[in-house]
């Protein structure tokens, strides 16, 4: 296999994130925070590097979980390159016509249908639809971004070598000057979190806010999350909350581990209210979200994670304490961000000062 890790050091530090789904409100603040910063230019209208979708659901791009990619038995699995209409979105609206077109109420504001199918789906089209049947409907929210995988199949699939995994923090990036827009990365990525810029003819994806990390500022999605549910830090930091949640307490796990790429984004799986019996009494044994559905997303380890969460909740309800739950409460907001606690407003980011000299060799 082609390794794009750093053979010269043999090891790397890896930035990772944990999303606590029991605090996620589906508000899309992370999505907006990302979009406003990174994808507001031409060719980026439909790009949402950060998204939150309602599960169960088809998500974005539409039906991505069945689009292939990733690895099977260590070998690349064929993948589908999501089409523009499967992402949908990036709409233009007929503001001018409605406000100033002299047509009165014979028209109304809506996305302009350009005949390319893009008005029939979007980054959050099936919001709050979910699954189940009345009175036991259920859903929860799943924030997604590039997993900055330990084995980035996107980079392996890139014929031009434009993609690389950064040594100091394991972020997967792309040299857009080298990118030829072949889009093999989009086929290979099993999470379908790579977008194509039709104006600049390059692929683009989450950059883990590296300009911010370089200044010790947490990524925008994490720092703006009003639910205070996004942990950022080094996966290997044994004192840090991420290591403990993932490795020590075993309550945070990657999405679709069977895709084989070693994601570095982890999730605390969702609890849910109890089911109702037919006579509307409460079935205190059964959660709304079927455990098998959670297993289909997070693998079999999800059951012990849910059990752990429930037993810790029992502990605190009967007057005990739980270091794990205290960690998830995040009494101090900044405790979420590991080394990335710098306030951006205190930085000098004058446009003339922020670029680095690209001709210089990196020092190590």
């Amino acid at each position: 296999m082609t390794s794009v890790l750093h053979p010269e050091t043999g090891e790397t530090q890896q930035v990772a994130m944990v999303f606590d789904l029991n605090k996620c409100m589906g508000c899309q603040t992370c999505s907006i925070a990302c979009k406003v910063l990174w994808t507001s230019e031409e060719g980026e209208g439909h790009q949402w590097w950060m998204t939150v979708n309602t599960q169960p659901g088809l998500g974005t791009p539409k039906g991505w979980e069945d689009m292939g990619g990733g690895l099977e038995d260590g070998k690349p699995r064929p993948g589908h390159q999501p089409r523009r209409e499967e992402f949908g979105g990036g709409w233009d609206f007929n503001y001018e016509e409605v406000f100033y077109g002299g047509k009165g109420n014979s028209t109304y504001l809506h996305p302009v249908d350009k005949g390319d199918g893009t008005t029939r789906w979007g980054m959050n089209w099936d919001e709050d639809q979910g699954g189940g049947e009345d009175p036991n409907a259920y859903y929860f929210y799943l924030p997604r971004l590039c997993n900055h995988c330990t084995r980035p199949v996107c980079a392996e699939a890139c014929p031009t070598g434009a993609m690389y995994k950064r040594r100091e923090d394991g972020i997967v990036l792309r040299n857009e000057e080298a990118c030829k827009g072949f889009r093999f990365c989009m086929e290979a990525c099993p999470y379908k979190k790579i977008y194509y810029n039709y104006a600049r003819h390059v692929a683009q994806h989450c950059i883990m806010c590296f300009p911010r990390l370089e200044e010790n500022v947490a990524p925008a999605c994490a720092r703006q999350c009003p639910g205070r549910l996004v942990f950022v830090g080094m996966l290997d930091d044994e004192e840090g909350p991420i290591h403990r949640l993932v490795n020590e307490w075993g309550v945070a796990m990657p999405l679709h581990p069977e895709f084989g790429t070693g994601p570095n984004i982890f999730y605390i799986p969702p609890l849910s209210p109890y089911r109702l019996n037919e006579d509307m009494s409460i079935d205190y044994e059964t959660p709304r979200i079927p455990p098998e559905y959670l297993e289909s997303l997070f693998g079999p380890k999800v059951h012990s994670a849910i059990d752990k969460l429930k037993s810790e909740l029992e502990t605190v309800r009967s007057g005990g304490t739980s270091e794990m739950l205290d960690t998830l409460i995040a009494y101090e907001w900044l405790s979420l961000f590991g080394p990335y606690t710098q306030d951006p407003a205190d930085l000098d980011r004058s446009p003339s000062k922020v670029s680095v000299d690209i001709s210089a060799k990196p020092t190590s």
Partner: protein
């Protein structure tokens, strides 16, 4: 940290995107409550580039999570509103018919000349009261509009009735509705009942305190028909039939009393449940019953004497702490002044009978759809835990919302669940930032003017206390509520001018207990003088000029855009809309005047004990295009009025109260002789004034605001909303209201001076609502199978941001109605089909969104959409009858008298009956209507 950094040109491309040359503080001063998020606004070359939640709030109480970062999707996209295509940046004059979308850009001089001319025409022919501004709770617009309209002698309608954002049942119970705990106090709860609130949608910045409380050991229960974005984070989701919450809560009360779980001491001391009621009349036993010279507002309890004697004991008006222990059991015979004898017994005795007769868990299960075991289980939990009802302003939008709220309050009363940390029920408050009120009341600028205002208020309060020595500071400050505003209840304007009369007189859309035709009840209420001084809209003729500023009448009026266009619009010579963006009302206006956006002016967010800090917003960039701040705009309108009056040779006029106004004095009155013409100075003055009252730390001024962005309040200040918190000002801890009542025994500002569950107003007795009860929502809209519940969405703050290109991409880009798959299938409707939602009031066309999370028989169309996002510009308010509950016309009873922003009739919408069907093709091609 350049070590190992990648060296590619595209990396620098991204570094360049995250760059700025200056940073300002910002917040979003709309009616986003409790809001108060503090943002950093990053600018480059004088233009806003992006914003980010500041995350600079200091921890408040050890062991309680901090408030950071506070923000939401709208806040994060606010910069995109600056140049969104719905932004207005130049004055526009209508050139085609109203609503045609034919505009001509004009200059300010012409625009203000047109408006001034129309105002003067109106003053000269109909009087200044025919200039109407529909009140709206937008901080930015409240100060300029109220100052201008008050100086002009125009009419402002009470904004809380136009939006119905106050909790009637809380007001009936406590004589006030505004006490709220700070959001971090939720963390102290052991049981959180999320009821008529969807915090994941409407409290995005603060909801974490509830979800984190769960990690601390609290149980969280969601009561809502639908499974929603907050239900997923609850331990229990209890689906309740829409509008049946009172039945559920009362059944929980029944269980508590039956099982003896009530907090007897709390009940006896804090509530009226120990007060004696006459068996013969059903009215409280009053001192005046016993002694012709006795007080009409002196009530009695039973106290225990030497067995078997009982003692009739005066219920203290100045203190809740009884001299003799209150007996909650038994009855007694008393001799009245006329010698007759009558049996009396405490309210709780009536309550037990009332609950046992109709509210056992088995009896209500059929109404509310909740299993009796669940009801019992929940009742016991409430009785055993520190319980907080996480509540919103949704219940009050039901016809019988007052009964729902009174029932919830009763549940908390029986279990002693207010006045201590982690308990209570919340509404909203806007107290503490005294500056705007003082700055507007001053006769001279500066500290000496401030002192004169404060001394005036102190004298008023002292006079109140002299007249009633039992009055607390809170009660003595009540009169200020009426003094501080010239708003009038919109009810009489609606009745006279907007075509509501036809709706309100439909008897089958009211509760069956309405004893007489609606019109007769209006007359009775007027004849009784209950609304004296507030009815000028009935006698003065229709309004002639409408100035919308911050509001959006055509979108939000319950009862529909059509009814307003049909009845009110033809009466108006001029409709002027002052706005940052194109609104539904703007599209049907004659004149649109562009206002500065929030990042383009200095302002403050609504101050509230929910957050306990004042949030500052600076001018990060110059107003776009020709836009002006609302403050400057009205100053220039004042000048334009003087110019136009001079041209016409006019000097002065009298308003409806006979007060004389000079045209050429308006500007100097508005600006306090030019002192407030500079908005920086005005903001500075407001901040310094607040420091004078102690509400903000000493030395606070504009410079401090620019340094800190948000300033923790340091005291309650002088405003009645703040005094109504009735708690010591919290230092180093979360805020819990009602502590003075519970800890010190301070009386409540109700008729009985107690949390009052028995209302013996003759109309309440007639309605069978003396005690909280459950009544089915009336069949508003006609006999249709579905109930529309709705509520606020997550994509906008009312209409603000509803047209934001970025936020539109985070859903389907168009409005939708959420329906259950069974209801959709039965009507042959598939996901995203256009459907027509209809009832006897009207109809609108919208896309269907099918989800099992909505119950069969329920339909949700979230609030906020502009009418022009629907075919024919007919939005969901077209099917809302806009009914008002007749009982809310009652007055002349203790705390049930017109109180600005509180006691008055307001329109409702929840549980309106509708049906839907696939939309006919013709709906999408309706023709332009006449306005």
């Amino acid at each position: 940290m350049t070590s190992g950094a990648p060296r590619t040109g595209s990396d620098n491309r991204y570094r360049q995107r995250w760059a700025w040359d200056s940073v300002a503080w910002g917040t979003h001063c709309v009616d986003c409550y409790p809001g108060n998020c503090s943002y950093r606004v990053f600018t480059g070359d004088g233009t806003v580039r992006f914003e980010e939640a500041a995350g600079t709030f200091a921890p408040v109480e050890p062991g309680v999570p901090d408030k950071n970062p506070m923000g939401c999707n709208k806040g994060a996209a606010w910069s995109r509103q600056l140049d969104n295509p719905d932004r207005i940046t130049t004055p526009l004059k209508r050139v085609g018919p109203r609503g045609s979308g034919e505009w001509e850009p004009i200059g300010w001089e012409e625009a203000l000349g047109i408006l001034a001319g129309s105002i003067i025409d109106t003053i000269e022919t109909a009087g200044p009261q025919a200039v109407l501004h529909e009140g709206t709770p937008e901080m930015t617009t409240v100060v300029p509009t109220h100052r201008f309209m008050n100086l002009l002698g125009g009419t402002i309608t009470d904004f809380n009735a136009t939006t119905n954002d106050f909790n009637v049942g809380l007001h009936i119970t406590f004589g006030k509705y505004s006490p709220v705990s700070s959001v971090d106090d939720w963390f102290h709860s052991d049981l959180i009942l999320v009821w008529h609130l969807n915090p994941s949608f409407t409290r995005i910045p603060h909801a974490h305190f509830a979800f984190e409380a769960r990690y601390r050991g609290a149980e969280v229960v969601m009561f809502a028909p639908d499974y929603n974005a907050s239900a997923m984070h609850c331990d229990l989701h209890v689906p309740v039939e829409p509008g049946s919450d009172a039945a559920l809560a009362l059944a929980m009360c029944q269980v508590i009393l039956e099982e003896g779980l009530e907090d007897k001491e709390f009940v006896a001391e804090q509530t009226d449940l120990g007060l004696l009621v006459r068996d013969d009349t059903g009215r409280f036993l009053r001192e005046s019953d016993l002694d012709p010279d006795g007080r009409d507002d002196q009530f009695f309890t039973l106290a225990k004497g030497i067995e078997p004697h009982q003692v009739l004991n005066r219920a203290g008006r100045g203190s809740l702490k009884p001299e003799l222990p209150v007996r909650l059991e038994g009855s007694m015979e008393v001799t009245l002044a006329d010698g007759s004898r009558v049996d009396v017994r405490p309210v709780i005795s009536l309550l037990r009978e009332h609950l046992d007769s109709a509210y056992t868990p088995e009896a209500v299960a059929g109404n509310c759809g909740v299993h009796p075991d669940t009801i019992r289980n929940l009742a016991r939990k409430v009785a055993a835990n520190r319980t907080n009802v996480l509540f919103g302003a949704a219940a009050s939008k039901y016809y019988h919302g007052d009964l729902i709220e009174r029932s919830l309050c009763l549940l908390l009363a029986l279990t002693g669940n207010w006045g201590k940390k982690g308990t209570g029920i919340r509404s909203w408050s806007a107290g503490m930032f005294d500056g705007p009120a003082i700055a507007m009341a001053k006769a001279q600028p500066g500290v000496e003017g401030t002192e004169a205002v404060i001394m005036g208020l102190e004298m008023l309060a002292a006079a109140q206390k002299a007249a009633d020595p039992t009055a607390t500071d809170e009660i003595a400050s009540e009169g200020l509520t009426r003094l501080a505003t010239q708003m009038v209840p919109p009810f009489f304007h609606w009745w006279a001018n907007t075509g509501y009369r036809e709706r309100w007189t439909k008897e089958d859309w009211h509760d069956p207990s309405m004893p007489r035709p609606f019109e007769s009840l209006v007359e009775e209420a007027l004849d009784a003088g209950w609304w004296e001084g507030t009815t000028k809209m009935l006698s003065s003729g229709p309004p002639r000029v409408l100035i919308e500023c911050g509001g959006n009448m055509l979108r939000r009026t319950r009862g529909g855009r059509s009814i307003v266009l049909e009845h009110l619009w033809p009466k108006l010579d001029l409709v002027a809309v002052i706005d940052q963006r194109m609104s539904a009302t703007g599209l049907n206006a004659d004149l649109i005047l562009p206002a500065a956006q929030h990042y383009e002016k200095i302002d403050f967010h609504i101050p509230t004990p929910h957050l306990m800090h004042l949030t500052f917003s600076d001018r990060a960039q110059a107003p776009a295009g020709e836009a002006l701040t609302e403050w400057e705009l009205f100053a220039r309108l004042a000048e334009a009025l003087a110019t136009e009056a001079q041209r016409r040779g006019l000097e002065s006029y009298k308003d409806a109260n006979g007060v004389a106004h000079r045209y050429d004095a308006l500007w100097s009155a508005y600006t306090l002789d030019g002192h407030y013409a500079d908005e920086e100075r005005l903001a500075d003055e407001m901040l310094r004034d607040s420091a004078q009252t102690g509400a903000l730390p000493e030395g606070t001024d504009l410079s401090s605001a620019r340094r800190q962005g948000h300033i923790p309040f340091s005291g309650w200040g002088i405003l009645p909303y703040a005094k109504a918190q009735a708690s010591p000002f919290p230092v180093g801890e979360t805020h819990t209201p009602y502590r003075n009542h519970v800890e010190k025994g301070d009386p409540y500002p109700t008729l009985t001076r107690r949390a009052q569950f028995y209302i013996d107003h003759p109309w309440f007795l007639e309605a069978g609502e003396a005690l909280p009860c459950h009544k089915e929502p009336p069949a508003m809209g006609g006999d249709h199978p579905l109930k529309i519940t709705s509520g606020h969405c997550r994509w906008s703050i009312h209409r603000m941001n509803i047209g934001n290109r970025l936020l539109l991409q985070t859903h389907r880009g168009t409005p939708h109605a959420v329906v259950n798959p069974d209801d959709a299938t039965a009507r042959g409707v598939s996901d995203h089909d256009e459907i027509e939602v209809f009832n006897a009031t009207g109809g609108f066309v919208v896309r269907a969104k099918i989800s099992p999370s909505v119950r069969p028989g329920q339909i949700i169309v979230y609030n906020g959409w502009e009418s022009y996002q629907f075919p024919g510009w007919r939005g969901p308010n077209e099917i809302e009858g806009g009914m008002v509950k007749w009982l809310h016309l009652a007055g002349g009873y203790g705390h049930l008298n017109y109180t600005p922003t509180a006691w008055q009739p307001a329109t409702v919408d929840r549980a309106t009956r509708v049906d839907f069907r696939p939309a006919a093709d013709s709906w999408t091609t309706t023709t332009t209507e006449e306005g």
